[in-house]
Amino acid sequence: MGTVSSLALGPVQGTPLARINPVAQLSAIAVVTLVLLTTVDVVTAAVVVAAELCLLPAAGLTSPRDVGRRTWPLLLGAASVGLVNVLLSADRDPLVGAGLALRVVGLALPGVLLVAGTDPVRLADALTIHWRVPTRFAYGALAALRLVPLLVGEFESVRLARRARGVEGRTPTARVRLFAGIVFALLVGAVRRGSRLATAMDARGFDSGIPRTNARGSVLRRRDLLFVAATVAVCAAAVALSVLTGAWHPSFTG
């Protein structure tokens, strides 16, 4: 259940980060991604990750438990990337491994911050209003997202229903087969529910050709611009520090 339920963690309500428009946050993520993809050194990644960690409380993630629940898959991935690179590289330099692991964290943490601090409805509103993302896509995805917690609840019912039929996972192979069977059953159910939902949305005039309005609206303010500017400044400082310390190592040159 652990892996399944971590998908269902919704946004924390009323966080400071939620006051930044989602498209400003996405722009900042683009800046960070671009910088981290151009270099593989430890200094740039460390500075960026440090700045990101400072934003955790702003996204409502204050207790170590909350942070852990949302980041453990990411930390696991980063640790294995670092470890594999140290073990497989010729000189076994732990600094290279640390740099690569920090880079993974630096690339993924903004996504965690966005999901934790931002209401998906505001994200869809902002994307459709400012970036002209098609409403069919944005609100369709939103409706689908609402079904995820239902799926989590159903996972347990289907597992118990199988035990009631005499099917359970006693051996590792049986367990894998059981899990695959449950996931398949959930997918079948999700497709059926999804098509009923599509009918209900159609019946309420969704995507009927009339230009859609937005009842909530989405406003870009000065603070959104400042947020992106601050991100650019932090990234510039990280690169500068990296070059000055001699750690700078672009990823696309030999």
């Binding site: 409805v121 159903e154 009631a164 039929r165 005499g166 949305m201 309420r204 009927s208 009842a215 909530r216």
Partner: protein
């Protein structure tokens, strides 16, 4: 369906009733302009507002059974606003209409309430508000209370009456359970093979319990006892089921009743050996546990293969329990899992198919059956391993009068052969005709 002649005047409230499979839903889908015409033979003409139904879809409002597949947004106000945004209304026009629609259905919470925190009846009223805010000229309600408990259903019916009081919308309700709608509609039309029958104002449906004779059963030994058993989800403050004591006895039927959220289904899972109680114990008689490796343990620790021949469970949603692609295989699965030989398992399956009138579908996929047939199949899969304890969650949900009688008779036959039966139910008829004992949570 054939031979349908019906004229509905603007502002009328009509109930469309009839047995499962009579074609009610087909007619409704045709009115909504949703009927696929591939591979269909079509005769006659159907018009809405004088034109084809698809052309009138902007003026149509629809309410279906399952509220969870009709809600779009995560917050109440946003969900009602969804249909108005689609219609291209300005934001300053939208919010007053949202508030009006919520008030009209008697919705007790504000716009910011998360839809996930609502009960089934509240969700269904919210869907109705979302439909209503678009000011439809034709309101189609497809068994809108089928998945609700009786108080929730009554509130939804009251909301329908309130919102149609000014007769600005023509209302067509489809429901095989006609009785509760009778005082609320102008006309009743029954779909029967070959056409429609219109009923007068004094018409009452024949009660499904009328003349029902169930086989007698003699009380047997105690088979299973929940001794102060309760359940609390990890991290939850409130128990899903407070400590409860019940006894299941051979040849006796126990009904578990109570409002949604009282823990009825949780109690069923404990009795069925599917969940471990977090407090108290579930004790099994030595007689029932005979042959189980470590049978002195509580049933949730038994192997699944040992459980199926002793305690059979039928879940509320039958499709969650189906595992194979053919009815025949579905019925043979339990016996095979409990270690029976393939030939014996096949024979059991054939016999059950015959008895439940499903032999014609032996090679069909369980998912293609109608709701009533799926329900009978799920009961049959539990019977295939001849368990001495049967636990059923809402077995009569959504059944029309005929399948209801078949199902209750089938359960009474199990009781007569000495089986202990526990049913979780909202169905008052089931409690009065079938249950020997009752516990209200």
């Amino acid at each position: 369906m054939t031979g349908v002649d019906l004229v509905v005047e603007p502002g009328e409230r009509i109930l469309l009733t009839g047995a499962s499979g009579a074609g009610k839903s087909t007619l409704l889908a045709a009115l909504a302009g949703l009927l696929g015409t591939e591979g269909a033979e079509i005769a006659g003409e159907l018009t809405v507002d004088g034109g084809p139904p698809a052309a009138a879809r902007g003026r149509l409002g629809m309410l279906a059974q399952d509220p969870d597949s009709q809600l779009v947004m995560a917050r109440v106000g946003d969900d009602v606003a969804f249909g108005l945004e689609n219609a291209g209304l300005r934001p300053d026009e939208i919010w007053p209409r949202v508030d009006d629609a919520l008030a009209a259905v008697g919705f007790p919470y504000g716009r910011d309430r998360p839809t996930q925190a609502l009960s089934g009846g509240e969700k269904q009223r919210l869907v109705l508000a979302g439909v209503l805010a678009r000011r439809p000229g034709l309101l189609l309600l497809d068994e809108p209370t089928a998945q609700l408990d009786p108080p929730g259903a009554a509130l939804v019916r009251a909301a329908v009456v309130r919102v149609t009081a000014d007769r600005s919308a023509t209302t067509i309700v489809v429901d095989h359970d006609a009785e509760p709608w009778l005082p609320l509609v102008d006309r009743v039309v029954e779909v029967v093979p070959g056409g429609l029958v219109e009923h007068g104002p004094d018409w009452r449906p024949i009660g499904r319990t009328a003349g029902l004779r169930l086989p007698p059963a003699a009380p047997g030994p105690v088979l299973l006892t929940a001794d102060g058993a309760g359940f609390t989800y990890r991290g939850a403050d409130v128990a899903a089921l407070p400590p409860t004591t019940v006894t299941l006895r051979g040849g006796r039927a126990l009904a578990v009743t109570g409002p949604n959220g009282a823990g009825k289904s949780t109690l069923a899972l404990l009795l069925a050996g599917l969940r471990a109680p977090t407090i108290g114990r579930v004790e099994v008689a030595a007689d029932l546990a005979g042959g189980v490796r470590r049978g002195h343990r509580e049933p949730h620790r038994w192997r699944a293969g040992e459980l199926v021949t002793r305690i059979g469970t039928v879940f509320q949603h039958p499709e969650q329990q189906f595992l194979t692609g053919r009815l025949r295989d579905e019925l043979a699965l339990g016996p095979l899992r409990s270690g029976e030989h393939a030939a014996a398992a096949r024979a059991t399956a054939e016999e059950l198919l015959e008895r439940l009138g499903l032999a014609a579908y032996a090679d069909a996929n369980p998912f293609t059956l109608s709701g009533g047939q799926q329900r009978r199949l799920s009961v049959a899969t539990a019977l295939a391993t001849a368990p001495r304890v049967l636990v059923l969650d809402e077995p009569t949900f959504g059944q029309d009068a005929a399948t209801w009688r078949e199902l209750v008779t089938l359960l009474a036959e199990q009781r007569a052969r000495g089986c202990a039966v526990a049913v979780v139910t909202h169905d008052a008829d089931l409690v009065t005709t079938f249950a020997d004992e009752r516990i209200a949570l």
